[in-house]
């Protein structure tokens, strides 16, 4: 029962810098389904974060979306009764127009990897949530037993007392102790984990249909990381929220995502169900990536941890054919460096782009 929420089709994002044009994302296609978690993994600089920003149409200068579309199935209520999907291409929205601004935060929330600096230092935790809520004129406080109030979010500004109540409730939901006191704390009075929770509370305060989590736990220690992941899972279930989870931590992705997209140099190289990819990776890059994590219980005495040979290629001067071929252990001379591999279904619901699975 997969219902698409965001469909990225053939997306290309280019950065026109002085030294040349960098294709940060090159022909990327993927689908994020309503209420599901899509994991996006890859090395630093492979275009994960740029893809996330492209969805919110906030590519930093001098970047530009040069091709492709991002279809957003926007759920709108028609005159208060019944809902229908409105199809919107996010790449076509005005970068600072009203439409995209109401989607940002209101319908697609985002959390960043730097909890230390993601909160404005001059505002309290409560003020951040108040701002997010008032920007979208939502009153997400639900009346018990009132099903209609749950569906229809009122388009009026919240009062100060309501905003404070919402803020305390959100802080409580993300597991901050003594939320009624913490609500008045400034970012510098909170610990890193608490700040990240506040960020999550801000992103979730408008009950978005999707949350983009850009390495949300990279800067946190492991115990806090586990708590944050629990909170995200719990909130996802209660609000039927889709999550695009960007990380380079394979362990985290295995526990969070249902489906995984593996990116390399701006391209998706493999996609499939999480278990299948971990059990039976098809693309040599994914295989190498999985080999490079240490495994508990495996006899590895005397062995060194595997690493991927070579360096990521120069982005100005990408290799011909398959971009991974200079580092690939299965390199087939005369083929991989000449022919660009196609997107191919290797088994049901499991895709890869590698010449190993093409008859050339």
């Amino acid at each position: 029962m997969n219902e698409p929420l965001i469909e990225v089709k053939n997306l290309r994002v280019e950065f026109d810098v002085r030294a040349g044009v960098v294709k940060a994302v090159d022909g990327l296609t993927m689908t994020i389904n309503r209420g599901k978690t899509l994991g996006v993994i890859g090395e630093s600089g492979c275009g994960k974060s740029v893809t996330a920003r492209a969805i919110l149409n906030m590519i930093p200068k001098p970047g530009k979306i040069t091709n492709g579309e991002i279809i957003y199935h926007r759920r709108v209520s028609k005159n208060g009764h019944g809902q229908m999907d409105d199809i919107l291409d996010l790449t076509k929205t005005e970068p600072d127009g009203k439409t995209i601004r109401s989607i940002r935060g209101g319908e697609i929330g985002m959390i960043f990897q730097e909890p230390m600096s993601s909160l404005t230092p001059v505002y309290t935790a409560g003020a951040h949530i108040h701002e997010a809520v008032s920007l979208h004129h939502l009153t997400p406080v639900r009346k018990v037993g009132d099903q209609i109030a749950e569906q229809v979010t009122a388009h009026r500004s919240v009062t100060k007392e309501e905003a404070r109540a919402i803020a305390i409730e959100m802080l409580r939901r993300v597991g901050i102790p003594k939320p009624d006191q913490r609500v008045d704390n400034y970012p510098h009075q909170l610990s890193g984990g608490q700040r990240q929770r506040v960020m999550i509370a801000v992103a979730l305060s408008c009950e978005p249909a999707m949350l983009i989590a850009d390495e949300p736990t990279t800067a946190l220690d492991v115990s806090i990381e586990a708590q944050i992941l629990d909170i995200m899972r719990e909130l996802q279930q209660s609000a039927n929220m889709a999550i695009m989870f960007i990380t380079h931590n394979l362990g985290v992705i295995a526990s969070m995502a249902e489906e995984i997209v593996v990116m390399y140099m701006g391209k998706v190289v493999e996609q499939g169900k999480v278990l299948e990819i971990f059990k039976d990776p098809k693309h040599p890059y994914t295989q190498a990536l999985l080999k490079s994590i240490p495994q508990l219980g495996k006899k590895t005495r005397g062995e060194r941890l595997a690493s991927i040979a070579g360096m990521t290629p120069d982005p100005f001067n990408l290799p011909t054919g398959c971009v991974f071929h200079p580092r690939c252990p299965m390199f087939m001379a005369g083929k991989c460096d000449k022919i660009t591999p196609q997107w191919k279904e290797v088994s049901e619901g499991h895709y890869a782009s590698c010449l190993l699975y093409e008859e050339v």
């Binding site: 919110l56 929330g109 404005t120 701002e131 997010a132 979208h136 992103a203």
Partner: protein, 381 residues
Amino acid sequence: MAVAEQPISVPAPAKQRQVSQSYWSLVWWKFKRNRSAFIGGVLLLSMYVGFVLIPEFLAPYALESTSEYVEAPPTKLHFVDSNGNFSLRPFVYGMERKIDVKTRSRTYAEDTTRMYPVYFFTHGDPYKLLGFIPTDIHLYGVDQKSDPDAIVLLMGADALGRDWFTRVLYGGRLSLLIGLIGQVLTIVFGTVLGVMSGFYGGAVDQVIQRTTEFLSAFPEIPLFMALAAAIPQYWSQLTVYFMLTVILSFVRWGGLARQVRGLILSSREREYVLAAKSAGASDNRIMFRHLLPSTMSHVIVIATLAIPGMILAETALSWLGLGIRPPLTSWGTLLQDAATVRAIHTTPWELWTVPFILLTILAYNLLGDGLRDALDPYGSR
């Protein structure tokens, strides 16, 4: 063997209130410890109250009340009369004017036969306190009703026989206000343009930065002259006064804009800007709600240290006859009265304006210096 288990009484922990010192309480704490800055602040506060709010009360006479004591020297306060009797209440002697026929000059001598005690909270010229409370109480004065010749001129009189101290008080109102209002305008121009310049970069930045360069490269006095000359003569004095403040701040916003731009350039790359944007905040919101507040402590210091320049500029312009013109009274126009060699020779008490200007500038500098230290409460010292 059953040892009765003694319940260990743990003293209930004293209810601890979470003490978190806010930034501003730290600033206040540090500011209070800096004695010279504190004195400067108190001095300025009392000056603004005295000169701007209640000069009518402090002055013994109305601004326009003239007398026959033209260019009279300051009257001396006495406690002991010519017979050696001490009185706790100070008194002044009457003044007798003599005209030297040969040199055609006026001299004043004390007439010890007439004694006028100085009363406090006495009745005098009627005025409206703070603009709306009608009263005629003055801080001090002599009884003019029983003897119209009685007068007290602590700082002498000018060429129309007006009390110089009264004029200094009223002049302070315009001079101190022009510094404050002008600086508020400068802050508005400087921060808005500085934030836009830093946030948008590119063409907006270029235009704003080149404009500040142009303005700062322009020699100030000729620019003031040109702008002051552009003020139509038929405008009311009050309009001219406000135009002057606008002109002063128009010329001086550049430096502030440049500093704010620098601060914004570094903070606009911070993650919270991105976070605000991803929460759906508009550019204006990011600029003025998220970025601007963090520059405020810097702006306050710069502004405080720049107010003296503003006051001095007004004084200089009015002295040159380009700024405020009589009948409006400011410290600049008062200095203009005292600007001739003849005035310095015959009425040196008209230079009493100068210590007031010096004191104001000094107080502002002390305050600004103290604020700079205090607003960085985490810094050393």
